[in-house]
């Protein structure tokens, strides 16, 4: 088997994510604090993988002709793939994914994932940048609301693809 075609491993965690492990403490946080950033690259193969894992086989996520016939410029990522990938930043920061007690978003803009022009279909053709900030601290319930900014980066252009993307984390 060609090495290029093997399953792409996610990029190594960035330092802010690597601090995970110990539960987050209430008294160490303040509103506006950045909890970390993460870059997610998506390839056409990632969309096929998400379709298989989720059971969402809508052809707008893998068939160019069909996507164009329904009025899209081309194949787009599943909104739930973007939402699912973005929260990884929060689960690592929280130390335990079970501490994420609420997670919501609105899908405001599609994420086009063109077929790679040449080489492996695993080659990423879309880049997302995710930043997490403490949006609100709830003293009574000991929770922090993490507000996620999720942007599609295309050269110098950035556009928000999710809005009101918020995760609530239980703190110790």
């Amino acid at each position: 088997m060609n090495d290029d075609l093997q399953v792409r491993r996610p990029a190594p965690l960035q330092p802010a994510e690597r601090q995970a492990g110990s539960p987050r403490r209430w008294d160490q946080l303040h509103k506006g604090q950045v909890i970390g950033t993460r870059t997610i690259e998506l390839s056409r193969a990632d969309l096929i993988r998400y379709a298989a894992a989720s059971g969402d086989h809508n052809p707008i996520h893998w068939n160019q002709r069909f996507a164009q016939e329904v009025g899209l410029e081309g194949v787009i990522a599943h909104g739930m793939l973007t939402m699912g990938a973005a929260v990884g930043l929060v689960t690592h920061w929280a130390g335990d994914p079970a501490k994420v007690t609420d997670y919501q978003t609105r899908f405001s803009k599609p994420v086009p994932v063109p077929d790679a022009a040449h080489g492996s279909p695993e080659a990423p053709t879309a880049t997302l940048e995710i930043t997490g900030k403490v949006g609100k601290l709830d003293e009574e319930n000991r929770t922090a609301r993490i507000d996620l900014t999720v942007e599609l980066v295309d050269g110098d252009e950035r556009s928000k693809v999710l809005t009101k993307c918020q995760a609530v984390v239980a703190l110790s």
């Binding site: 894992a53 994914p97 079970a98």
Partner: protein, 152 residues
């Protein structure tokens, strides 16, 4: 086909879902969720979980199976070919854990007519089958585009 607001509040029969380790691992890999508690039983045990725990958005896999009853309900009149996912929310009551058998039941919570289209909100309650312990509440909002709506 036109949307039927009188179907608001209708509940659909629950579906059953067996949570498997390999499904959790496969989903976690697909969303690039590297946290060890989704991949290693040992890592999950160190955090006090009795088996692998699902990433926060895994509940959508279960919820969408239950929501299918609402989306395809002829009485509701949703044209699935014109549906766009608008909003999603997960409220987690306890982590979804490998080995559990869950049930998921969907209610067609709200139909808001907007011009020729509509916003349709479903609420799916996911609980354990044997003792109905709550696991997650999944709120999903679909935008059904109207026939004469201009394409963006």
């Amino acid at each position: 086909m036109s949307i039927n607001t009188a179907r608001e509040g209708h509940s659909y029969p629950p579906i059953e879902y067996q949570v498997g380790r390999e499904e959790i691992r496969e989903f976690a890999t697909a969303v690039k969720a590297e946290h060890r508690a989704h991949h290693s039983e040992e890592a999950a045990a160190q955090l006090g979980h009795h088996d692998l725990i699902a990433p926060p958005t895994f509940a959508v896999v279960i919820a969408q199976r239950a929501e299918a009853a609402a989306v395809t309900d002829p009485e509701a009149g949703i044209d699935f070919s014109r549906v766009v996912h608008a909003e999603e929310r997960f409220t987690h009551h306890a982590p979804i854990t490998a080995g559990e058998t869950l049930t998921a039941a969907t209610t067609l919570d709200r139909i808001r007519v907007m011009g020729a289209g509509a916003m349709v909100t479903t609420i799916t309650e996911i609980t354990t089958k044997h003792d109905a312990a709550p696991r997650a509440t999944v709120t999903s909002t679909l935008l059904v585009r109207g026939d004469d709506e201009e394409e963006g």
